[in-house]
């Protein structure tokens, strides 16, 4: 009989098709959402993986010594490199010896940021080395630390489970079933058991999809490491491995799905209408996320919402600290649920499931054929919906046209704030935050951008209303002036282009997250990327790419896909020159380096040691550090 029920639900009522569609949507959504990460790791994933592979696992004495030694190297790398440089200049050491000794410190400097992240992990693990290991946290944090409702899973359960009983009533099959030998009780029991198994199966399917997708995107290694290895679970009472934690969450979700199915069945049997069952069950499951989303209360409610998320039962205390007028203040965002309380809650949920199961069977088997008993119908609907009401009461660039010829030259050190064209001298005043275009013929000065609502007009102390921006750099080419704008209190930047003919402004690139919708409070992201990257120093662009320098990182953005690639991690401040597809820059070892766009490689020009470069025609002009800072020339064409 169970097989018949599954055949009816999955094949006849097209449940399998719906599950398939929701499953595919789930996978698409998982890839779209990505995984938890950090801007520093994203810019140097290779470096981060190198250190994690070296130090991951339980802290040992040997590992600690190695980390501390590496920490010394990273902290003092700049000083060691300068010392070696000085020795080489004085002739104390030869070129080969300098190259050999400086290589290690050079790599340290390049990977300093990611090493500091790993060092922070070491510092955290040091406090309790038995339960805190060093780990690549990204994948496991994505799986275990989110409490947003899985809308696709809930909709899938609604589509598959609601017709289970409602169809029988609406098609008139109920009277036939209930008059048969096994129709009164056995059919109801079989329906419910088959629904429970099916809902558990759907939850397992979706959880497996989540696991596989996250593993594919970022990896889920070291599943046997303790849960407390993730800083998010610092205060958690659950001393289990990461894999066990995931299995526990899936078990909670299975119980949640079974409870949800029981709710759907009871409401279906009482209301006998698909629309009422759909409406009531979706309200009962979605409203708690909106009213109590992100709080502990969600997990105490006798509703499936908390169980369907599951993760919150494993979390520890979560705080939000901030500096207010009275000093540092901290509020608790999420209070952990003790293991004893969880046991009690699970007992409550099981009792609830059993109660709903029995209620459903009793209601199903006692249905009468009083078709004209209007008053009875009203009473039944009113009672059912009153119960539900009481439950509810408890609750709460456009791209500009570039010239076809893509060859141009850009001297970052000079041109990031002042450029002379045939018609104008364009200069950026970073303090006043304006760009001035001085017309060479007429002598008039035009202030750009021409925004009447300039931020300096009205200052507010209301934090929520702050809307300023800073212009970091300009780039002028082919009659267009481009400027890079960083918005205060937001990550990312925007690039605008101004056509110097009619001063029309166009958006070239938008790297700021703009969507502010949190679905009435259901999606509450308490985690933010705490790392603050330095401001962008300068940028330049061509038809296909945008290049910018941020700290020591030289980054390229593909204008078609908006994907970012870090080209170099060792660029000295404002030392780049772009010439016809190649980027020349000085690295932290004062070597002239070149990134070639055509084959996407970085080469070091060993013969040139300098701290300043510019371009003149087809050669690089530089101050030669190996020759008393005399001016030297490097022919680009060779």
């Amino acid at each position: 009989m169970i097989v018949f029920e599954w055949k009816k639900v999955l094949i006849k009522q097209k449940g399998l098709l719906c599950i398939g569609i929701m499953f595919l949507l789930k996978i698409a959504l998982l890839f779209y959402q990505g995984y938890d990460s950090n801007s520093i790791i994203n810019s140097n994933e290779e470096g981060y993986k190198y250190y994690i592979n070296l130090y991951q696992g339980k802290l040992t004495e040997e590992k600690e010594k190695s980390i501390k030694a590496e920490y010394d190297s990273v902290t003092n790398a700049q000083a060691y490199l300068e010392d070696l440089s000085h020795k080489k200049r004085n002739g104390e050491i030869g070129f080969k010896e300098y190259e050999e000794k400086s290589k290690k410190y050079y790599e340290c400097l390049k990977n300093a940021d990611v090493f500091n992240l790993v060092y922070n992990q070491y510092y955290y693990a040091k406090e309790a080395p038995d339960v805190r290991y060093i780990i690549d946290w990204r994948g496991w944090q994505t799986l275990l630390s989110h409490d947003a409702p899985d809308v696709l899973l809930i909709v899938c359960l609604l589509i598959v489970m609601v017709p289970l009983f409602c169809n029988e009533y609406e098609s008139g099959m109920y009277s036939l079933l209930v008059s048969s030998v096994r129709g009164k009780y056995k059919v109801a029991i079989v329906k419910l058991l088959s629904a429970f198994v099916l809902s558990a199966g759907i939850v397992i399917l979706f959880s497996v999809a989540e696991y596989i997708c996250v593993d594919f995107m970022v990896g889920l290694d070291n599943s046997t490491f303790p849960l407390q290895s993730l800083k998010f679970f610092e205060y958690s009472d659950w001393y289990v491995s990461l894999r066990q934690a995931f299995v526990i969450i899936v078990l909670f979700r299975i119980v949640g799905a079974v409870l949800f199915t029981a709710f759907i069945s009871v409401v279906s049997v009482i209301s006998k209408k698909t629309i009422v069952a759909l409406f009531t069950c979706s309200t009962l499951v979605f409203l708690p996320y909106i009213v109590y989303g992100g709080t502990t209360t969600l997990y105490y409610l006798p509703l499936p919402s908390g169980l369907l998320v599951g993760a919150g039962y494993l979390w520890g205390d979560n705080y939000l600290s901030a500096i207010t007028e009275e000093g540092v203040d901290r509020i608790i965002l999420f209070q952990k649920i003790s293991k004893n309380m969880i046991t009690l809650l699970m007992l409550m949920f099981v009792i609830e499931i059993v109660f709903l199961f029995l209620t459903c069977i009793v209601k199903y088997s006692r249905h009468t054929f009083r078709l004209n008993n209007f008053g009875n119908k009203i009473r039944k609907f009113s009672c059912a919906l009153c119960v539900l009401t009481i439950l509810l009461l408890i609750l709460t660039g456009c791209r500009t046209e570039m010239s076809e010829k893509d060859n141009f030259t850009f001297n970052a050190s000079e041109e990031w704030r002042c450029v002379k064209t045939d018609e104008y001298v364009i200069s950026l005043d970073p303090e006043k935050n304006i760009i001035t275009a001085e017309n060479l013929d007429k002598g008039e000065q035009i202030v750009l951008p021409k925004d009447p609502f300039r931020q300096d007009i009205y200052e507010t102390e209301d934090r929520s209303l702050k809307r300023g921006y800073r212009i970091r750099s300009i780039f002028v080419r082919d009659g267009w002036c481009y400027y890079l704008k960083e918005i205060l209190q937001t990550d990312g930047f925007q690039i605008y282009g101004i056509d110097l003919k009619d001063f029309k402004e166009e958006l070239i690139y938008n790297g700021i997250q703009e969507n502010d919708k949190n679905f009435f409070g259901a999606f509450f992201d308490r985690r933010q990327d705490q790392t603050s990257l330095p401001s962008v120093d300068y940028f330049f662009l061509n038809a296909n790419y945008i290049y910018y320098l941020q700290g020591k990182r030289l980054v390229r953005i593909d204008r078609n896909t908006n994907s970012e690639t870090v080209l170099a991690l060792d660029v000295k401040e404002r030392s780049a020159v772009y010439h016809n597809g190649d980027i020349y820059y000085i690295d932290t070892l004062n070597r002239l380096s070149v990134y070639k766009e055509e084959d996407e490689t970085v080469n070091k020009i060993d013969s040139v040691y300098t701290d300043q470069i510019s371009i003149e025609g087809k050669r690089i002009r530089y101050t030669d550090l190996l020759n008393d800072k005399n001016i030297g020339y490097y022919d680009i064409e060779t």
Binding site: V151, L158, P163, F279, L333, I378, S382, C398, R463, N510
Partner: protein
């Protein structure tokens, strides 16, 4: 026609479960507003304090002070606030003030008094008052904006840049002559404008009422009977869609009314005639109406936006035999539509277009009008709100035509098949 509309309303919406759901949701809505009033936001930087016993004295003092200084602005009121601010600023400046509870204070503590006066009276009054001589005021700020815009008009006329010229002309036309001569707490109005939980409840009620509209008729085989009657095709479709409009309008007006009444009871909401730009968050709004009129406008836009969504549910109901599919697809559409509306203030044209196509964008009048949001259409500046409205009206007409085609043409084919089968 009116009788048919009445029958449709009775058939689809005056059902016991719809009425009970509506009453339950009204109650939940009131409880949520009250909960936010009682406990405030869980935010360290929040403006609103909870209305618990701990803050009772604070709120008492606030009300007394507010009654003293609110209303028409005068030099005396401003002088009083400035003198209190200076007195308390001098007391806390060197950090040697007493941290003990004090008699004769507003909040019981000196630091509390300083925050109380500065945050809730001095700074808001500084924003509006022409009597606060030492800092910039709204009037002088907006005059600067007009001057900048006039300069820009001249500049862009010379350059031949029509779009920016029309944008600055719009600014001069709509931002000139602004003056604020009253002082009321605009934060409570901002709270009312941004309250959107009732929108979700209305969406759920629309799903409940509209999703079974055509499905029920198919299940009872009434659809063929209706289609065979004289007024079966166009009139019936029109009547159904009109009944959806009435249902949507009813829900929006009732919930908006309740929200306003409850907020008025709890927060006071004084100054219904004060201009919308007197609320600091709306200082650069292109509208010149009062806060009361803005709330009415917001309600009307919600009616249009939710009506478009309701016709979309109706279209799905006409397409499917079982109500579970229109319900599920509508739920996913809600998620997608709300996400798209999050780009209403985007600087990217493609995302803006996506937002304008979502009916949920019209539910965000607070975002559409709190700053100047425009779009370039054939080198002319248009407000995004206007474009969104026109796009949604166009969408609803398209949906209506589709519903009519699905209902009449598909069923005609079925009837034709039946007749052919019987005759053979």
């Amino acid at each position: 026609m009116i009788r048919i509309v009445y029958f449709e309303i009775r058939k689809n919406y005056l059902r016991s479960y719809v009425v009970i759901a509506l009453l339950s949701f009204l109650l939940i809505n009131i409880l949520i507003i009250y909960k936010d009033y009682l406990y405030g936001p869980n935010d360290l930087y929040g403006y609103f304090l909870p209305h618990t016993a701990e803050y009772q004295k604070w709120w008492q003092s606030y009300q007394e002070m507010y009654d003293k200084v609110s209303g028409k602005l005068t030099a005396d009121k401003a002088r009083f606030v400035v003198s209190e601010y200076r007195r308390l600023d001098a007391m806390v400046a060197d950090g040697t003030y007493s941290r003990e509870k004090q008699e004769g204070t507003y909040t019981g503590y000196i630091w509390g008094d300083y925050v109380f006066i500065t945050k809730y009276f001095y700074r808001p009054m500084k924003y509006v008052s022409t009597y606060m001589k030492y800092v910039s005021t709204y009037e002088s700020a907006i005059k600067q904006v007009i001057e900048n815009a006039k300069d820009n008009i001249e500049f862009y006329s010379q350059c031949g840049n029509n779009f920016d010229k029309s944008k600055n002309e719009f600014i001069v036309k709509h931002y000139s002559g602004r003056k604020i001569d009253v002082f009321h707490n605009g934060k409570f109005w901002k709270l009312l404008f941004e309250y959107d939980f009732s929108d979700l409840l209305i969406v759920l009620l629309l799903l409940l009422g509209v999703a079974p509209m055509f499905v029920n008729e198919k299940n009872t085989n009434m659809d063929k009977l209706i289609l065979s009657s004289i007024k079966g095709k166009f009139s019936m479709t029109f009547v159904k869609v009109f009944s959806i409009f009435l249902y949507t309008a009813f829900l929006v007006i009732v919930f908006s009314g309740i929200n306003f009444l409850v907020c008025k009871f709890l927060y006071g909401l004084s100054g219904i005639q004060m201009p919308i730009y007197a609320v600091e968050a709306y200082q650069y709004t292109p509208l010149n109406c009062s806060v009361g009129m803005f709330y009415v406008l917001q309600t009307l836009l919600k009616v249009v936006g939710l009506f478009v969504f309701a016709t979309w549910i109706c279209l799905l109901s006409a397409l499917f035999q079982r109500v579970v599919y229109p319900y599920a697809i509508s739920t996913l559409s809600v998620v997608l539509g709300i996400y798209a509306s999050g780009y209403v203030a985007s600087v990217e044209t493609s995302k803006t277009i996506w937002a304008l196509m979502s009916p949920f964008t019209l539910l965000r009048a607070n975002k559409l009008f709190n700053e100047l949001l425009g779009i370039n259409i054939r080198d002319t500046f248009y407000l995004r709100a206007h474009v969104a409205l026109i796009v949604q009206i166009f969408i609803v007409l398209m949906i209506f035509i589709l519903i009519y085609m699905i209902v009449s043409i598909r069923d005609l084919r079925v009837i034709k098949k039946l007749i052919t089968r019987e005759s053979s």
